[in-house]
Symmetry: C3
Subunit: 243 residues, 3 copies
């Protein structure tokens, strides 16, 4: 049994956060809320989204899981305005998900959860450095790096946080004094990441006031942000440095 | 003899209403105003546009008809602002249509009216149900249906007006209580229509405050709207239901 | 030695003015400012840009020249807001140009100036007619002409300034009484120009309040505008009239 009402902008965030990695996902519901965990087809990144029951205008669910085609859910959401409440309701008989906004109701067929790739076990990594910056800043720096390269180095040296893209011809660098940043765990390390993935993540994180990055030495990075009862977390594997 | 002045937005509506069905049309002028009647190349839809002399800032014409390439007239209009008066004037000598806005004047060659497909005789159908909804609502529901299907069922049952798209996988439905609607003729019937056509029509109708739909049982639908002296009417043939 | 600070919008104008003609250009610096002169690959148009030292927020330079890939500089500028100061600094050691805005710094590789096509000598033509119109008006009329033709006739007759496009089918004309214009040198002549070039020029000039056109009889046209210490000048060869 599931009946939940949530503002369009929030559900869209949930959908787009996962859609940046996979097209189909298992939505696991309990009385605590909604949980989604996915790993991208190339095994480079994992995403975890937790939408607490408090993130919903109304939330009532028993334990259960449904398989969702994220593109089709995203398309259905395009019929709603940003602040419009969207109702999700499982039709137990037809095994379809009703998605309604105003006078429009979609009835989406579900995917058998056994046909969806198993949820990853997301490791609890301990990462030496941590910074928080705005989503806008993250997005802007990824866009700048993508002008010159297809990978980006993220790390800290001499208490300066550095995002750097280095192409064959040009180079771009964003430096932030850790003393200017909101929350910081200082260290000396850096890792290289694929800009394809980082741009996808930054696109989702772009509207967040605060995005937390945790980085190690040639090690996966954790990207995390939270908004009104919704937690989004990415774990992104590093690229091997070749230069 | 023709000299007419009309605001860009109005002439654009006239042009786009017809352009949604055909690329070339016969514009028939009289002292009463402008009349255009066309049928689309697949014989699925007819459109009639009447622009009363009162829709114009200035209107003076003898009886006559000209053949217009609608795309080229639309392009000429793109030089004018929404509220800018556009002057249409026939040059009897050169048999060209001067279209002027501000300091810019286009001189458009006309098409021999005998080379344009004959105007359809639009039948006077008596249709059992009628509703009026806003253009925005019509456009939004056609867009939603197009996400799941390529045809849309429009009709009434138990005094509820229903627009429904049903694809192989998903379904979408918009329901409106007839008691909530502006003008209503109640009945029990529905017909299926091509979304290609309905989306084109909804695009033109999208800005109208009030659009009238008249529907029968597996029968053509009439879509009609009016604004400041301009009447637009579509007659759209049904599709044969296959499920 | 070069260190210069300039608002993004101004540097963007400089870059786009030249980029409308060539992709690589020689930037010549002196204590007076920046000078760029280029001729397009087809030898149809020349562009000269002078950015006076006063156009910069800060300007300090010795005599020297660098070869710039304009597309890459333009891309770097997209990281800055319109009013954001952008710093240009030559790194003498690495022979790279540092372009910084906020916390982001690009390091652009330069092109050997000997690999860039030699700067043209721009002739001092004496042109019989001159008018000044707004950039918006110029852009709008070029767009209108491009709907019907691929060339445009610009000139004056009976003290009326005329921009005219004449296609195989349609015609468009913009007429301005010279008595209504800001600055005027009256004459009787006209020349034909390629709309490809004129649209590129009009795009750059589109935001200017005042654009000066100087025209002769089947002779090159000079297009000139100035804004806050930046002078842009085009010299465009005429097309041979064929009708």
């Amino acid at each position: 049994m599931l009946k939940a009402v949530i503002k369009e902008a929030k559900l869209k965030l949930v959908v787009e956060a996962v859609l940046s990695m996979v097209e189909e996902a298992k939505f696991t519901f309990s009385d605590k809320g909604l949980e989604i965990k996915s790993v991208d087809p190339a095994n480079v990144a994992m995403v975890k989204v937790l939408a607490d029951a408090s993130a919903f205008e109304f939330f009532k669910s028993t334990n259960g899981a449904i398989g969702v085609d994220l593109k089709r859910l995203q398309e259905a959401l395009s019929s709603a305005e940003k602040d419009e409440p969207v109702t999700l309701q499982m039709n137990e008989e037809s095994q379809k998900l009703a998605v309604s906004m105003g006078r429009i109701q979609y009835e989406l067929s579900l995917i058998d959860t056994s046909a969806i790739r198993a949820e990853p076990k997301i490791p609890e990594l301990s990462l030496p450095i941590m910074v928080e910056l705005s989503g806008v800043e993250l997005k802007k720096s990824m866009k700048a790096c993508s002008k010159v390269s297809d990978h980006v180095k993220i790390g800290m040296t001499n208490e300066i946080f550095v995002i750097a893209g280095k192409g064959d011809i040009d180079k771009v660098e964003l430096k932030m004094l850790t003393t200017e940043m909101q929350a910081v765990r200082i260290g000396e390390c850096s890792s290289l990441f694929s800009l394809d993935y980082m741009e996808d993540i930054a696109k989702v994180a772009g509207k967040m006031e605060k995005v937390r990055l945790e980085v190690g030495q040639d090690y996966p990075m954790r990207v995390q942000f939270m908004t009104e009862g919704i937690l989004v977390e990415y774990l992104l594997a590093p690229r091997i440095e070749q230069d």
